[in-house]
């Protein structure tokens, strides 16, 4: 080998403005029949959507349709206990299940003009606005990890990622972000 100088490059600074990690949140998994869903809408203060793959928000609380009898309820951590007590009080007559999954998963906000492009690197869904409008939510896949994807704005997505997959999902998104124009 010759005396060639090894060319080194400084690590490229990646623009991370597309990513936000929100503060801790209360998450409740709710399941029940139509009567229980109606009662839960009153108890939670948000009408639980009956249309498939839609989310509803009232104030700081949101209800995400995940299946025909299954919802993810999201609210500020400070309201967690009051919500659970409200369900215990108002849904006593309705068979249902309410599971506190606050610490099973964490949230990521992916936003900005490249949000769709970043997510489509690992998500098989068509995220065009006409097929995945604002207010749509669903479980799906990001690469090999299950995620819940919720479009909260034209250029803003809320992701729910199980904690043990968070590093995997964040790393893959960051890797993709390296390709963004500086």
């Amino acid at each position: 080998m010759g005396n060639h100088a090894v060319k080194t490059t400084a690590p490229v600074a990646v623009d991370m403005s597309w990513l936000e990690t929100p503060a801790s949140t209360a998450r409740l998994s709710f399941r029940g029949n139509a009567a229980a869903i109606a009662a839960a809408s009153t108890a939670f203060g948000v009408p639980l959507p009956t249309e498939a793959c839609r989310a509803a928000t009232v104030g700081t609380r949101s209800a995400l349709w995940l299946g025909p009898d299954e919802y993810l309820l999201i609210a500020p951590e400070s309201e967690r206990l009051a919500i659970i007590q409200g369900f215990v009080r108002d849904l006593a007559a309705h068979p249902h299940s309410l599971v506190d999954v606050s610490h099973r998963q964490n949230a990521l906000i992916v936003k900005g003009p490249h949000a769709v492009w970043l997510l489509e690197s690992g998500c098989p869904l068509d995220l065009d606005l006409s097929r995945f409008p604002v207010g749509m939510c669903t479980r799906t896949l990001f690469e090999k990890s299950e995620i819940t994807l919720w479009r909260t704005g034209t250029d803003t997505f809320h992701l729910e990622v199980w904690r043990s997959f968070m590093e995997y999902v964040t790393a893959l998104l960051t890797e993709t972000a390296h390709e963004l124009p500086a």
């Binding site: 498939a52 793959c53 995940l66 299946g67 025909p68 299954e70 098989p124 869904l125 669903t138 479980r139 799906t140 896949l141 299950e146």
Partner: protein
């Protein structure tokens, strides 16, 4: 990628689904009275149909629900999907389901 129509969520990529085997396998009504032959039939014996076949599928990475599908096993085409508990729609000039 193959697109499968979930009866709850609509058209979705096949990656989100898992196969649930032959549909309409009926569990013996009174299990303690079923003979060994009936149990064997229920637990282990499945058709291996060439052509239109009624199957269960699950939208595992979506709404999580099981549903029924009629799929052509020679072409992998999903002819129709419908919710569990519903009657299968009539299929024209069908093979034996």
């Amino acid at each position: 990628m193959l697109i499968i129509h979930c009866p709850y969520c609509g058209d979705r990529p096949e990656l989100e689904f898992s196969h649930g085997g032959q549909a309409q396998v009926v569990r013996p009504a009174d299990p303690s009275k079923a003979t060994d032959a009936e149990w064997t039939q229920f637990l282990y014996l499945r058709k291996n149909t060439r052509g239109l076949f009624a199957e269960r599928w699950r939208h595992l990475r979506g709404c999580g629900r099981f549903f029924n599908a009629i799929r052509d096993t020679t072409t992998d085409q999903f002819v129709v999907t419908y919710r569990a508990g519903e009657q299968p729609p009539a299929i024209g000039s069908g093979g034996a389901l």
